[in-house]
């Protein structure tokens, strides 16, 4: 039984990593097999916190997807991006820096794939006006979205999974992840001229074309924008006030989504347009397969093996998690990676007496998985989506071009993370 569960799991992961078959199909098929052969039953799948579908994650994603669907209808994102490009006075480097910052901030509030889908068309527009190749800008924005998304609980799906498993709050992420993300972003922006050398030559006459863009026209429904703004502020306030209100983020997101649906009066197709049913089902399948591994005790064994390898040394464990997470989640999608590692890290963390250092294990996992997503063109969903957009619009990004630059960015961000984790949780303990 255990061997079968492991076999299903491994095969599923290989298929997901190879990207040959639709990954939702693979995850659900794997789940169907472990359920059909009786490794887990309906109680374990639907009602167990340890082995079942993590409903908090599913509904937080669902709620935020609806909120984003409504927000997209307002055009505010396009407004901000074009306004930023105009502020750069047509200098391509400054435009890249500003768009990268817009992307990073947006990515902290919304999920990375949505951010990429929002920033890509307006980037293509600006580059088209300037008659320069958009590919470097798109690549830089993907990097920024993976980095920026690491700073909040809702910014990146791995964080949502970790938060649920480790009972970490929105504020925990702000306090522990935001500082290192800010540091990495500053360094990343400083690196832009070197990483994307040669991408910034522009004919000065084209600058007027960018300055002539009318960003106000992007906002077609100011009333809706105000409603969205109010609801978003309330939602994030509720995230932050979790300690006082005791309402879980998933519930907050669902409530926010519900309010927006009612007050926006949008058509169902509009407010559901951003809900990625396939992604949600992918998570369901993944949770069931990982749950089967937990039930059969495989996770326990792996955790014990890891503890033996590190001798229970907290610093070594933290660095090991960081060092393994980055390359692995750079190659296989960071979501399945984190879904699998979460129960293992949970066991490891339980064995570390100092609470701050025990928590550092989770930050190491989050940083490794989030930043590691930049390593290759398939390391994160945002990367895949962006490459798809680029391919369709005559600005193709080659796998190796992305990976070459991604390797540099990932190495720098992981190095900074290692120093941060060491200094914050071990030197100044």
């Amino acid at each position: 039984m255990t061997a079968l569960a492991i076999a299903v799991f491994v095969v599923a992961y290989v298929l997901i990593a190879s990207d040959r078959i639709n990954k939702t199909l693979v995850a659900l098929s794997g789940a169907a097999i472990v359920v059909a052969i009786g490794v887990v039953g309906s109680d374990e799948v639907f009602y167990s916190r340890d082995t079942g579908i993590d409903w908090d994650v599913i509904f937080l994603l669902f709620g935020m997807m609806i909120i984003v669907s409504v927000l997209r209808q307002t055009g505010v994102f396009e407004y901000i991006a074009i306004w930023a490009a105009k502020r750069a006075n047509g200098s391509p480097l400054r435009i890249m820096i500003l768009l990268v910052l817009v992307t990073a901030v947006a990515s902290a509030l919304l999920d990375n794939v949505t951010t990429v889908l929002l920033i890509a068309p307006v980037t293509l527009l600006v580059c088209d006006r300037l008659a320069i190749n958009a590919a470097p800008f798109l690549i830089a924005e993907v990097f920024a979205s993976n980095i920026g998304g690491a700073s909040t609980l809702v910014g990146d799906p791995p964080n949502i999974i970790i938060a649920s498993r480790a009972a970490l709050t929105f504020n925990d992420f702000l306090v522990h992840m935001m500082p290192i993300v800010v540091i990495v972003m500053v360094v990343f922006v400083a690196m832009l001229p070197r990483v994307f050398r040669g991408s910034f030559d522009v004919d000065p006459e084209r600058v007027a074309d960018v300055m002539a863009l009318e960003e106000r026209e992007a906002i077609r429904d100011p009333g809706l924008l105000i409603k969205c703004g109010v609801v978003l502020v309330l939602v994030f306030t509720a995230f932050i006030a979790h300690g006082v209100l005791h309402i879980e983020p998933s519930i907050v997101a669902l409530l926010g989504a519900g309010v927006l649906i009612v007050i926006s009066r949008l058509e169902r197709s509009d407010y559901l347009s951003g809900v990625e049913w396939e992604t949600l089902l992918f998570f369901v399948g993944l949770f069931i397969m990982v749950g089967a591994l937990v039930k059969t005790g495989v996770v326990d064994q792996l955790a014990r093996a890891a503890t033996e390898a590190t001798g229970g040394n907290a610093l070594l464990t933290v660095m090991l998690i960081l060092g393994v997470s980055a390359p692995v989640s750079g190659i296989i999608d960071n979501i399945p990676y984190v879904a699998t590692m979460a129960p293992i890290v949970s066991e490891l963390a339980a064995g570390i007496p100092d609470p701050a250092q025990s928590q550092a294990l989770w930050w190491a996992l989050a940083l490794g998985a989030d930043f590691g997503g930049n390593l290759t063109a398939v390391g994160a969903s945002a990367n895949v989506v962006m490459l798809g957009i680029a391919r369709r619009t005559d600005n193709p990004i080659s796998f190796w071009d992305f990976t070459r630059k991604g390797a540099v960015v990932t190495a720098v961000s992981i190095a900074l993370s290692a120093v941060y984790l060491w200094v914050r949780y071990f030197v100044f303990a």
Binding site: G75, L125, L213, E214, E217, A218, T393
Partner: protein, 147 residues
Amino acid sequence: MHAEEIAEDFPVVTIDSNALDAARMLAEHRLPGIVVTDSSGKPYAVLPASQVVRFIVPQYVQDDPALAGVLNESMADRAAEKLGRKTVRDVLPEHLVNVPAAHADDTIIEVAALMARLRSPLIAVMKDGKLHGVITASRLLAAALKH
């Protein structure tokens, strides 16, 4: 009446022909759409005029309609400039419905139902696996109202 009796000859463009020429043909003859054939002459797509209009809409505006108003008037006026360098294949919409084709012996109702379901103002008529002609909505109505 059968489809083959109502069908007319219709200007066609091949998929590798110049997109600007195709758009120009539609504009000059005020056609309700164009028929695109592959290099062997087999119908590849039937595009209503509203889809041919897409040729001049940049891809990023098609992906993000909020950007449509952002381009100022002079940019909008020059929208068709890039078309000259593209072929029809380059600008065909991604989600192409299978060629809405009626059979030569279909009745007026069958053709009308097909047209209505696909919301297409023109339908290709196939006979013996080859393009026999095209029926436009106005021609179909004229035939139907004659009785």
